[in-house]
């Protein structure tokens, strides 16, 4: 009887410890913007996307356009839907998972392909270039947003 009680006591201390940890983690709930922010995000992203083609390479306006595009897509990505129910949460989770795996996949393969292409077509060894930070962020965000829209469309 005494051993059962001490076991129970031990389990309960463990659980209360986990509880306080869980509460701390819960405080960092996924940060989301209201649905109205989504339109603003799309406007910023679209304007920045057009601006990308109108600006000259390696200038300040081009850099501003590049990062505005990321900010716009980020706003779209973290804005709530009109009705943010459990199906949407599920689809959102799937889109983030897909985007993460797909973006890493492309980021790994892309330099390999350009390296091989350079080697075959110009017959000279280029320096092995990685994918830049902007490219990875752009891949992650655009794949997530597009795949989420696709998932929503097939769950009409």
């Amino acid at each position: 009887m005494e051993s059962v009680l001490s076991n129970l006591n031990e389990i309960m201390t463990q659980e209360s410890h986990l509880d306080s940890e869980r509460n701390n983690v819960d405080k960092l709930k996924i940060f989301q913007l209201p649905n109205s922010a989504k339109k603003i995000g799309w406007v910023i992203a679209c304007v920045a996307f057009v601006a990308l083609f109108l600006t000259i390479k390696d200038t300040l306006p081009k850099e501003i356009a590049k990062y505005s595009l990321l900010v716009g897509l980020l706003i779209v990505s973290i804005s709530k839907e009109k009705i943010e129910d459990e199906l949407i949460k599920n689809l959102r989770l799937r889109s983030f998972t897909f985007a993460f795996i797909f973006a890493v996949f492309i980021a790994i393969l892309n330099p390999l392909f350009s390296y091989l292409a350079n080697f075959v077509f110009t017959e000279q060894q280029e320096i092995f270039n990685g994918v830049g930070d902007w490219m990875i962020l752009w891949l992650l965000l655009s794949i997530q947003v597009l795949y989420f829209e696709k998932l929503k469309r097939i769950h009409q």
């Binding site: 009109k82 129910d85 459990e86 199906l87 949407i88 599920n90 929503k152």
Partner: protein, 66 residues
């Protein structure tokens, strides 16, 4: 898992939209459940059960492969 959501909805004479509003989800969610593309959470299943005044087992049924 099979479901008889469409039948239960017909008994109460509700559209997908009306049922969705009553339990606080989107029409797409109801449609996805009816078409067996989405398995609802326990909370949602119990909300449906309360609305239909029937046990959950009456309209969500396990199949052999589950």
């Amino acid at each position: 898992m099979k479901n008889r959501l469409k039948v239960e909805r017909a008994i109460l004479d509700l559209t997908q939209e009306e049922l969705a509003n009553k339990i606080g989800v989107s029409r797409q969610t109801i449609n996805s459940i009816e078409k067996n593309r989405y398995i609802p959470s326990t909370v949602l299943a119990l909300k449906l059960s309360r609305l239909f005044s029937k046990p959950v087992n009456d309209f969500f049924v396990l199949e052999d492969q589950d």
